[in-house]
């Protein structure tokens, strides 16, 4: 306690808050570390003790983590620890059907047993033990923090009554077990349902949310009860049973209240603090995840320092801050927090269970007593069931959706004991409690029995009883809206009926939250946003992801069905499209980051997907508006847009497929397709705009490349109108064309040649483009020179150069990008024909790596520049021209 108070944190708080959050972080961090390392009083575990102990564990875990990252199935990741790494493959095959039956926690304990046995055989002495200090300081917080932070708050509070009741009643029932104080103590610690074990097993079983939240919430709050009871009995044992007076019992109850409520308060205070700090981290996004971890952990440590319930504190810190922090921090930080927490939690879980196994092997620690063990097992079972039945009986008085018999069975069966009980019993002082060894043995057996036997059988049991499983379905926008409406409705009815019911109070709380808390804790920009809008955005993003996930299947899924879906039967080719997408969909990379980073084969799919999304996802009106939609007729227009998209996309598919077949051997097949996809991008938007096809230039590209960055909105698919084309561009087009008076082709007018520009899509230009494939993008700084060189074509009328060297020259990138070299080349009469010069200019741009870079994922895709489907006349012309160019080269 003193260490924290005297540390610079509290004293420097007001000042540092005024300055930057970064400077605030430093004292927090330092105090955290110092309190960790330099106060052996409150933390029995100091660093030197820890490091030799942790390092083998961590190394083995790292290796297992690595292997699991290599996407091996679950089991193999755990078997690949150093000892067993020699034979992972055999186990791997064995595990395939094994893991479906055996929960992970059992596996881990078994593995721990094996490991412990090996260590014992080799060194005759158990080196690694699950130290209570390690457990309570590092392993438990990560697990609880994870659980608390991601706890669905509403569900938790909806079931709070049930949790509280079950918690207290179930914990106390074990006391009947024995008259002796020591047995009372033992009863207290053995009766605690362990959050770790429950999490591990129940998450695998996927029972429905209500059941899960009740059992898990109970086990979380159990910690408070257990620890308090444990401490109370501990003090009783110290004093001796004959000296305990009635007043002491009341003191025990009081201390229970203080510990649990105090822990909760500490957690809430830290939650508010954390939310408040994240309000100001806009400039330093990088520290947001760190802040979250630190503050949550700090809540845990503070509660521990005051010997309050640390788990409760941490849980409530997580629950409390979740809403505000999630709104304040950026999307990236959110992801970081999520995955780091999950990873840490699963690491800690793994360590705990392995250690349970390891320490069970050491015979010196425990003594066997069959009577005690069997009695304990039976009593645990009976009392748990009894407690559950009694408590649900009381609860069902109040619950509308009653907990039926099946739920009760699962609840009583789900009472898994785990590492908390074990750690507590190991902590016992052998001098004061002579029977410690017996207790340890019994605890280990109980833990093993519950985790192994019950954990193994709970899945078949759940299947057999047909317990409703968790539906992994996310709510739709309809549900979100209706739920809100229903809440308002119920509140109103309660008001009318003159009741101060649950909804009444929740409404009060929401008013308070809206008027004061959110104003204080939320960033202004966030506060302004409507909650429903956020939800809408989230759902849109989720749909976007699911579109990627499913490849093209979304065309048939009802999720994203757009109004015009009904009329899609009128397209005869739809099935083909779907099939095509399905074929390709299997290869779609789900990980967006991978897509971003690998510019190779993913490009096509990526651009495809983005095209699809940009076209089909429902867009916020604000962004669409620039497309000059008339607002009176939105519905019809949407339908129209979608149909057009479909049509144009089908054309694209047909052509790409066609090309697939014809150019299969071509190495640059992918890029080709990319190139050909391009012309049709966002046809619908384009139709609305005047067809402006300026010569492609980097300047313009640059303009389109600017993604509309809007922080924290997530993915927004923006369809923008073309910004006004730069004045100089149109000038340069005719300029370039004027020179090119090639007798062979001679397009009569600039407009015609404009139409023949290669990005207007078409099969004909393919050979040309392929030859340019290897050319590189022109660096932006060279743009000016490049443009100048183009316009200088006018003045340069050099004699025709040899045609042959052209190809190698063109395909070598630096040549093209340097204006000096390229200008004489271009000025050759053959090449300076408008037809050729325009592909030359444009194809590097089109097929360039820049286009296939992650930038493509930006709104660029929908740039209307890349234009409308060719009409037959154009096609003919282009074909002719392509033959011509092919013969030239």
């Amino acid at each position: 306690m003193s260490s924290l108070l005297s540390s610079p944190v509290l004293s420097s708080l007001p000042f540092s808050l005024l300055s930057s959050p970064l400077s605030f972080l430093a004292p927090v961090l330092s105090s955290l570390l110092s309190s960790l390392l330099s106060s052996p009083l409150s933390f029995p575990l100091s660093c030197p003790l820890l490091s030799p102990f942790l390092s083998p564990v961590l190394s083995s875990l790292l290796s297992s983590l690595l292997s699991s990252l290599l996407s091996l199935p679950l089991f193999s990741s755990h078997t690949s620890s150093p000892v067993l790494s020699s034979c992972p493959s055999s186990l791997f095959h064995f595990s395939q059907r094994f893991t479906t039956v055996v929960p992970e926690s059992c596996m881990l304990i078994l593995l721990g047993l094996v490991l412990g046995g090996i260590v014992l055989l080799t060194s005759k002495k158990q080196l690694y033990q699950l130290e209570p200090g390690l457990f309570f300081l590092f392993l438990l917080p990560t697990i609880v923090g994870d659980a608390g932070y991601f706890m669905p708050a509403r569900l938790f509070f909806d079931n709070l009554g049930a949790i509280l009741l079950s918690d207290v009643s179930l914990c106390s029932d074990q006391k009947v077990q024995a008259g002796l104080m020591e047995f009372l103590l033992f009863g207290a610690l053995i009766s605690a349902v362990d959050p770790v074990a429950v999490l591990a097993v129940f998450e695998e079983v996927h029972v429905n949310e209500t059941l899960f939240i009740i059992v898990f919430g109970e086990s979380l709050l159990n910690d408070a009860v257990t620890v308090v009871l444990y401490k109370v009995y501990m003090s009783f044992v110290e004093v001796g049973p004959e000296n305990v007076q009635t007043a002491d019992y009341f003191k025990g109850v009081a201390s229970f209240l203080i510990v649990s409520i105090g822990g909760t308060m500490v957690g809430l205070i830290f939650a508010a603090l954390l939310a408040f700090i994240t309000r100001f981290t806009k400039k330093v996004r990088i520290i947001e995840p760190l802040l979250v971890f630190l503050m949550v952990y700090l809540a845990y440590l503070t509660a521990e320092l005051f010997s309050l319930s640390a788990i409760l504190s941490m849980t409530f810190c997580g629950i409390g801050c979740n809403k505000y922090v999630e709104a304040n921090i950026s999307q990236k930080s959110r992801t970081t927090v999520k995955y780091t927490m999950k990873t840490l939690a699963s690491i800690a879980e793994t360590i705990i269970f392995i250690f349970l196994g390891i320490s069970a092997v050491d015979k010196s620690k425990w003594a066997w007593d069959t009577g005690l063990i069997s009695c304990t097992l039976i009593f645990i079972f009976v009392f748990r069931a009894l407690g559950v039945v009694m408590q649900t009986w009381v609860l069902n008085w109040f619950r509308l959706v009653p907990l039926d018999k099946i739920d009760q069975v699962v609840m009583s069966y789900g009472g898994l004991r785990g590492a908390v009980a074990f750690a507590l019993v190991v902590l016992l002082d052998a001098e004061r409690v002579p029977a410690k060894d017996y207790f340890v043995a019994t605890t280990i057996i109980v833990v093993f029995f519950t985790v192994m036997f019950q954990g193994l059988t709970i899945k078949p049991l759940v299947n057999w009883l047909k317990v409703p499983r968790a539906t992994n379905r996310k709510p739709t926008i309809n549900e979100e809206i209706h739920e809100r409406a229903f809440d308002h409705c119920l509140t109103a009815v309660e008001d009318i009926a003159g009741l101060n019911g649950y909804h009444h109070w929740r409404d009060k709380w929401e008013q308070f939250d809206k008027n004061y808390l959110s104003k204080l804790l939320l960033r202004k920009s966030v506060y302004r946003k409507s909650e429903l809008w956020e939800v809408y955005q989230k759902i849109n993003i989720r749909d976007a992801i699911s579109v990627i996930d499913q490849g093209g299947n979304v065309l048939t899924s009802a999720r994203l069905s757009l109004p015009s879906m009904a009329s899609r039967a009128s397209f005869p080719e739809v099935t083909n499209v779907t099939n095509y997408l399905r074929e390709n969909g299997s290869g779609v990379c789900l990980d967006l980051q991978v897509i971003d980073n690998v510019p190779g084969a993913k490009v096509e799919e990526e651009s495809e997907t983005h095209h699809f999304l940009a076209g089909n996802l429902y867009k916020p009106r604000r962004r669409v508006r620039p497309c000059q939609h008339c607002h009176t007729d939105r519905q019809r227009q949407d339908r129209e847009i979608f149909q057009r998209n479909m049509k144009s996309r089908m054309e694209t598919f047909k052509t790409t497929r066609h090309k697939r077949h014809s150019h299969k051997k071509d190495r640059s097949d992918v890029k080709e397709q990319d190139l050909n996809d391009k012309p049709r991008r966002n046809v619908s938007w384009q139709d609305k705009d005047p067809v402006v096809v300026p010569v492609e230039s980097e300047d313009e590209k640059g303009e389109h490349l600017e993604p509309e960055k809007e922080e924290d909105v997530g993915i927004t698919f923006v369809a923008r109108k073309v910004p006004d084309t730069p004045k100089e561009r149109p000038k340069s087009v005719p300029a370039g064309l004027e020179v090119c008076q090639s007798p062979s082709v001679a397009p009569p007018s600039p407009t015609c040649s404009e139409r023949n520009l290669p990005w207007k899509g078409g099969i004909g230009t393919l050979p040309v483009c392929v030859s340019m494939e290897a050319t590189k993008i022109i660096p932006i700084d060279l743009q000016q020179a490049w443009n100048q060189s183009i316009s200088s074509l006018e003045s340069l009328a050099s004699p025709p150069g040899p045609v042959e060297p052209l190809h190698p020259l063109l395909s070598s990138s630096p040549l093209l990008s340097s204006p000096l070299l390229s200008s004489p080349l271009l000025s050759s009469p053959l090449l300076s024909s408008p037809l050729l010069s325009s592909p030359l200019l444009s194809s590097p741009l089109l097929s360039s790596p820049l286009l296939s870079s992650p930038l493509l994922s930006s709104p660029l895709l929908s740039s209307p520049l890349l234009s409308s489907p060719p009409d037959p006349q154009e096609k003919r012309e282009r074909k002719h021209l392509s033959c011509l160019t092919a013969s030239l080269i």
Binding site: I481, F486, L490, A497, W533
Partner: protein
């Protein structure tokens, strides 16, 4: 208090209400006392103004709609029977196995009736369809001023798209039921708290009455 209410309410009337709505005797008397306390005009009926006088209802975004739900079409007074009939929608769903009576009409608190009640909150013009405008109105009530018209419009569009099955750009009642598997979300799951308070209050009241 409870005794005063029951004296004003005739026994046979209570029986009838009991049969119709399923409320228990004590609940009816309690709600009747609430009814009379709301009834400022003391003429046995409630007007819209009576409802609007409830302070919490004034800040409830959907307050007006819910008040509307108490009044049959074209009337601006509601008597105790009507009051109870509307409230009966909020009673918990009973076990259908127990009182499976094919002859009886569907109870007011059946799932369908609850959903119908909710549906009519949206459906202002009672044409059995939630049009885009109707949805927009409700959305506007619920979200307040923090959101622009375009945003709200796109939410409404999406909502309708999601639910709409026959392509008429509105949500019919059947679509409303089907949409997003409404039985999975806690439709009225919250009313167990309502019944909780009913029970607690009625038990308390009974204790008080008997002691007096």
């Amino acid at each position: 208090m409870g005794s005063r209410a029951s004296t004003l309410l005739r026994e046979e009337e209570i029986e009838e209400i009991k049969k119709e709505t399923g409320f228990s005797h004590s609940q009816i008397t309690r709600l009747y006392s609430r009814f009379t306390s709301l009834d400022k005009g003391e003429n046995g009926t409630l007007s819209r103004e009576d409802f609007q006088r409830i302070p919490e209802l004034a800040i409830n975004p959907l307050g007006d709609r819910i008040i509307n739900a108490f009044f049959p079409e074209g009337e601006d007074q509601v008597n105790f029977r009507g009051f109870m009939r509307t409230l009966a929608h909020f009673r918990p769903i009973e076990d259908n196995e127990k009182n499976k009576d094919p002859t009886a009409s569907e109870p007011l608190n059946s799932r369908t009736n609850k959903l119908l009640f909710a549906f009519q909150l949206y459906d202002l013009d009672r044409d059995d369809k939630i049009s885009r405008d109707e949805l927009l109105q409700v959305l506007r009530m619920m979200v307040g001023v923090n959101i622009s018209d375009e945003q709200l419009g796109s939410i409404a569009d999406r909502t309708i798209q999601e639910a709409d099955q026959n392509g008429d750009n509105s949500i019919s009642f059947n679509e409303f039921i089907k949409v997003g598997n409404l039985q999975h979300i806690y439709v009225w799951a919250g009313d167990h708290y309502l019944i909780l308070t009913y029970i607690l209050l009625s038990v308390l009241q009974d204790c008080l009455c008997s002691s007096v």
